[in-house]
């Protein structure tokens, strides 16, 4: 998160969902307890984050704490990223998307979409905005354009004048929150297209939604550009267990079955300031 007052700010927020139907039927206990607004205690051990959200927090509260400021920053030309990290069924989708057409149940993304445009309408009349969105996914070293499934091997391009970017990715101009949500729907529908092993795919592919906001002052011609990345780190728990070929050496301690991961073992031995460790497949810069 780009915080204006300090140079670079990263915040970690943790949200807890209530027990779901099957858990209640199973008579599962709800084990986390909360202390203040930044600590959760599980099994007697406290874990501290920048903020914790117990089960009674509303979508609006979560949005206001996590994302509201980021939207403002992006509109001032800064960049921001929101990562969603959690096991399947932990409530990631509810937090990030929520009930899309429910004013209270809406999640972070629809609120961001709406907020962007709300802000724009209140800003200086002389500012001209161009909002582009891209949606792509990273899977096994390849970047796939989710808005154009024929583009399956995009690469990260570095240019001396700008930060690294995904070259060749579709960019759609949008002019309303509804259009933003339409793009997301389209991308989501494309995620599992032409995938041979769905389990592995959903647990090891990460989707990235990029909102690129350029503004230009009509008179002064001053330009600003802000980027907002929404990263969905899917199925974090499944990585080491799919048993698929070439699985990434997830935890340092686990043995990796597949010989194709020999490279990871060797790379770990070769790390150092005097060496060049070749860029491996299965990782992305």
């Amino acid at each position: 998160m780009a915080d204006v007052s300090t140079e670079c700010n990263i915040r970690v927020l943790c949200r807890f969902r209530p027990l779901n139907q099957s858990e209640i039927l199973r008579a599962d206990k709800y084990i986390p307890t909360f202390q203040g607004d930044d600590t959760v205690i599980i099994g007697g051990k406290p874990y501290v984050f920048d903020k914790v959200f117990p089960t009674n927090c509303t979508q609006e509260q979560v949005y206001n704490t996590c994302a509201k400021q980021i939207v403002k920053d992006v509109l001032e030309g800064y960049n921001g990223t929101i990562f969603a990290y959690g096991q399947t069924s932990s409530g990631k989708t509810y937090t990030m998307e929520g009930k899309l057409h429910d004013p209270d149940g809406r999640g972070i993304i629809p609120r961001i979409a709406e907020d962007i445009f709300n802000h724009i309408y209140t800003m200086d009349e002389n500012l001209e905005f161009h909002i582009k969105v891209s949606y792509f996914e990273i899977y096994m070293d390849k970047i796939r354009d989710l808005l154009d499934v024929s583009k399956t091997n995009l690469s990260v391009h570095e240019d001396k004048n700008r930060v690294p970017y995904v070259k060749g990715c579709t960019e759609r101009f949008v002019s309303s929150p509804e259009e933003v949500m339409d793009v997301i729907d389209e991308g989501k529908a494309n995620r599992h297209v032409a995938v041979t092993n769905m389990n592995e795919h959903s647990s090891r592919s990460h989707s990235i939604f990029l909102i690129n906001i350029k503004q230009e002052h009509v008179e002064t011609e001053q330009k600003l550009c802000g980027k907002l990345y929404l990263v969905d780190l899917a199925g974090s728990e499944k990585v080491s267990k799919t048993g698929a070929e070439g699985a990434v050496l997830d935890e340092a301690k686990n043995i990796n079955k597949s010989l194709s991961a020999l490279g990871n073992v060797i790379s770990a031995l070769a790390e150092g300031t005097k060496t060049h460790v070749p860029y491996r497949d299965n990782e992305k810069k």
Partner: protein, 631 residues
Amino acid sequence: MAAHQSSEWRSVCEKFRLAQELSEIESRKDPENNPFRSKYKARDLLKEIHCSLKKIEIEEEGEADNEADCESREMVDGELGSECGKSCSGDSPAGLRAARLAVVQYCLGVNHIETEELSAGEQHLMNCLKLIDKCTTTRENVSLFIQARNQLGILWAGRDEIEKAQGFLEIAESMYLLYMREDGQPPLDLEDFFVLEGEELSQQEKIRRFEMAYTHTLYYLAQVYKNLQQYEKAGQYCHSTLQRQLEYKQFVPLEWAINAATLSQYYITKTRYMEARHCLAAASVIATLAGEIPSEAAAKESDAECEKREELLQKRSEIARCWIKYCLNLMQDAKKLLEDNIGELDLDRQEELKRARRSVEEEKEKGRKSAILFGSSDTFDSICSLEEKVSSMLPLDFEEARSIFLVGQSYVAQAKEYFAMDGHVTDHIEILQDHSALFKVLAFFEQDLERRCKMHKRRVDMLEPICKDLNAQYYLLICRQLQFELAETYYEMMDLKLAVADRQDQPDVHTIKKFNNLCSSSMKYYQMFLDSIRSPEGKFPEKLEDDLLRPALVARFRVARLQSKLISSNLDTQLENLTNSLDSYNFVVQYCEENPEAKKAVETELELSIEMVSLLPLKINRIRSKITSCN
């Protein structure tokens, strides 16, 4: 056995085949919400097979004479069959029955592990071990012996019990070595237990699979040793794994090449250059097995060719970068041995090391070499000829250093082929920094000061345009590195020019101008670096962060020295220069007073700064009085 031809047996074999297919092929298509569907089906089939086998066993045991089966053979210590307590030999009917059941237990074990039921998996694997451990180890059960222990190794490592994992794997390793020494016959593979007569795997295939199992043992041990922080062993086992992959043709050329190149980097960290060179040479040779690089024209025609070209170019460039590090480190390690306490080549040390080199034991070298050799007969020669192009011994004089430098330089060109500036800024610049470092270390070996200066000039020519062009906002860290390096390089050149000029009686105007330019250039870049640390409002930080502390203070110190070295005939200019110089020295002294923990970082510089702070005011006053007396 009559049972083997019966339709019942046929259906058992078919079930086994189906279970394998479900586990390995069908399972990939299982939906996200039922990911183990096929594996559960496979499990049921395996359980049925187990029941059928038990039935057959009862029938067969009724037929055979039990005592005959359990007769133990003549045992001799040290042989495969010599372990006490074996109730039968592995190749007896009872042994075969046990092995067959053990195979099912093994498959069930793996099945449970893959469906995240580790305890059940462990149970089945232990059952498997119990069954075959009752028998002597023979070609019937040795593969299972090893594979079951491989799986148990992985399982226990996953539970964070690395020593237990190590135990299983090391036993598997010993058994392989023992078996190959004592017997060596192509062992039965798991599949061989559930085929109809005459449909067993070929000898070749049996061997291949068995060797694969052992290759995995070594590979898992490499990981275990790495986790136990026994890095030398880990490296050795990685190396063995690579060797075996090549020997049994179990490799994908590019992947193997990259792994070998990466392993070379590990060897570099251990200063084992002979091994590193071998890995790199092998990497380069094996990479060519991936095919010709499609031309640009071909790449334009088809997507597939384009992708192939990209991939091959990239891997070749990655390997080239590893070669560059080899050459660079080899030269830098030599420099460390040869330099005296002011960083110059110590001629006595050079003599000493040259003498020592002549008496290096050749036999030991050969032994070390043969242990690590890669390759089959076809690649061996190519690997050797590539190795001959560059030395693996520390260079002790300019000629030797230069020849390594030239090899490094040729790889720089190859590395830049893929990692062009446009598209790969960070990588491209890293390569340039390595190239600059190659020049820098070569300069150390060059005795002629003018030629040395020219080498530093090459560095400046390489890095200056990039530094100017790069967007400082997005590439802050790299810009700082380049600025600092350029400043240091100009500084080095200035010092060299000074040394050359000192030898002349009266430096001419031309030399003075050159000298001042070098001073100014160096100052300019140190200043740029210092400015990059300022806040957006232009304020220099009160307290420097850890990673900027030494560079910033050194930069200030150098600026101070440069300012005092500028040559001018004009008194006012001299005064200005010395005053600025004093300010800069003062900054260093004051900062260390206000931040005492900084003193350690810049001990030498601080000492000199304190001296200058007391000496310079005298010099300044002298000039001031000269000025007033002139007016």
